[in-house]
Amino acid sequence: MICAGIDIGAVNTAVVVLEGDRITGSRVLDSFEESLDPRQVTDLLLEKSGIRWEDVRAFVATGRGRNGCTFAQKTGSDVACQARGAYWLFPSARTIMNLGAEASRVVSLDQHGRVISFATNDKCAAGSGLFLDSMAHLMNLDVSEIGEFALKAGSAIEVSSRCAVFAESEVISHIHKGESRENILAGLHTAVADRIFELSCKLTFMPDLVLTGGVAKNIAVVKLIEKKLGTPALVPSNPGIVGALGAALIARSIRE
């Protein structure tokens, strides 16, 4: 039986196709850059995987744009889908940190993978993926390389401002003072990790820890969170598809 899940996030759209217990296809696209709507993203993936629309028995949508998805039979919250996907990949998962473009959330699971509590960031952009994106842009770097840069820092500068807009002017003044990009980036990454750590303090932390979402690809964020929590983090090979995977798993359970 073929089921699929789509995660329509603030920046990326991810689709996962599941056949039985096997992921037969997945795709993550930047919705803005590619100018593709969720239907077109799914069309591309299905075509590439050699699957026809009519063969997909159930479709579940998640993410910020889930309610606008016309072809899904059901929607699932980000919390439920991230939890479902992460637990399927790592059954030892008890705490999930989902680090998205706009939202960060921490979810606690019991041994059966059920959500027992969760916390999400407030509407402030500091600490989000978009914050790192704009800081990378400010330093003429691609967001995919800033983590490596931050790890090369001699010492991290302190970013005192918690506001994304004020942090930008603070970074500019550090650039003018001649501070190295590595040290500035180390400071920014520390600020991001601090925000996520604070969020996790609202819940009772239990290992194993799983990191999901596009920001989990950032090696410096991963290492800083591991250091803060004193525990290694499990990171899926493609952390950006975990929500869509969870949605596909929910779709499968509708049909079972």
Partner: protein
């Protein structure tokens, strides 16, 4: 029926103007649940709760810093935008710092013929009740001096009866909500409409509404929720909770049970009875200590079988925010999942809130 109740709030200014035209009486704006409205009603005036609108507080923003209560700011904004031009007076109790400041702010900026500052004690105690009784007598004197008419003992007695009947009807609405005969939205719309309509008229409306509700088939309830909130002067947030699969079966809110939960006891001294009711009522966190409020919440939770608690505090509502960690702990110790929001009650906020509410409902359903 729900649509009609919604319309009442929307048309509240026109209704007040019409009442004034037909009766020639005075309309008095009131802040908070601490003002004994019975005396205003007994004086032949119409008490109306001051409320804001979900729009940019463009006028009030020029007067206040950004870190202040959105409810108080929006109410004042309505005044500055001339939507409360029909008011003859306002009554401001010293509920919290922001409301207290409204006495001077309204007086200095708006052409209000009568502004009265009512002192309400912070401590619930026999001495507090005695102190408040004296202030209520002063308040009666203030109203009489302003209107030039005596407020008779008979008028006060009748007003207490009319208000107690309204409370009983709202309490019935609360029980209907618990049984699923009324939604949380309908129940809150009833409370809100009671806050600006003449009570005798509202009693008639409620009677008809409850009679109709009693004949309904009970629909299956969603996840049973208790909501604890600072001022929510519209039903949008409760509508969101119910759209996401929740059923609000109990509340701890100013525009909710705090307004109707306890009646005024008949006693030989109506001023003592009013002081007791308004001070001891379901306590607002501006009073010391949180114990009584928490006991009330615990009790309604058990009675209504609430499966989860949603706490909604307005930004900068210090009174509620200070008590939040203890309330959260109390609820969690009872095994109840808690979802917390702190915001400004804007349309934009609702989308992010929807995500969390859906996740919360899914979590409770398991």
């Amino acid at each position: 029926m729900d649509i009609k109740l919604d319309l009442l709030r929307q048309n509240r200014h026109d209704m007040a103007r019409l009442w004034k035209k037909e009766t020639g009486g005075k309309v008095v704006g009131v802040f908070c649940c601490n003002v004994p409205e019975e005396l205003i009603y007994a004086a032949g005036m119409l008490p109306v709760r001051l409320m804001g609108e979900k729009e940019e507080a463009s006028e009030a923003d020029l007067h206040f810093p950004s870190n202040c209560c959105p409810y108080v700011k929006r109410s004042f904004d309505q005044g500055l935008k001339h939507r409360y031009d029909y008011l003859d007076g306002i009554i401001v109790p010293n509920t919290c710092d922001m409301v207290r400041a409204m006495y001077g702010t309204w007086k200095m900026n708006l052409d209000i013929p009568f502004a009265y500052f009512l002192e309400v004690p912070q401590r619930i105690s026999p001495r507090g009740i005695e102190f408040f009784r004296e202030r209520i007598l002063d308040f009666k004197g203030g109203l009489e001096e302003w209107s030039g008419c005596e407020i008779t003992a008979k008028a006060i007695e009748d007003a207490i009866e009319t208000y107690n009947l309204n409370r009983r009807l709202l309490q019935s609405a609360g029980r209907f909500r618990q049984d699923g005969l009324l939604s949380g939205v309908e129940c809150q719309n009833m409370v809100i409409s009671s806050m600006f309509m003449p009570k005798d008229e509202h009693n008639r409306l409620m009677g008809a509404f409850l009679e109709e509700a009693a004949r309904r088939d009970t629909p299956p309830l969603g996840v049973r929720l208790l909501i604890s909130a600072s001022m929510l002067d519209n039903s949008d947030f409760i509508r969101l909770l119910e759209e996401c699969g929740g059923s609000v079966v109990a509340d701890d809110m100013p525009a909710g049970s705090r307004y109707f939960f306890y009646s005024v006891n008949h006693s030989s001294d109506p001023f003592f009875a009013l002081a007791e009711r308004y001070l001891v009522q379901v306590p607002c966190p501006r009073k010391m200590l949180p114990r009584d409020r928490f006991e009330f919440i615990k009790q309604v939770m058990e009675e209504t079988g609430a499966e989860g608690a949603v706490i909604h505090n307005l930004k900068a509502c210090d009174c509620h925010l200070y008590e939040y960690p203890y309330l959260k702990k109390m609820l969690q110790d009872l095994g109840l999942p808690v979802l917390f929001f702190r915001g400004e009650e804007t349309e934009a906020e609702q989308e992010t809130q929807r995500d969390d509410i859906e996740a919360f409902i899914e979590m409770i359903r398991g």
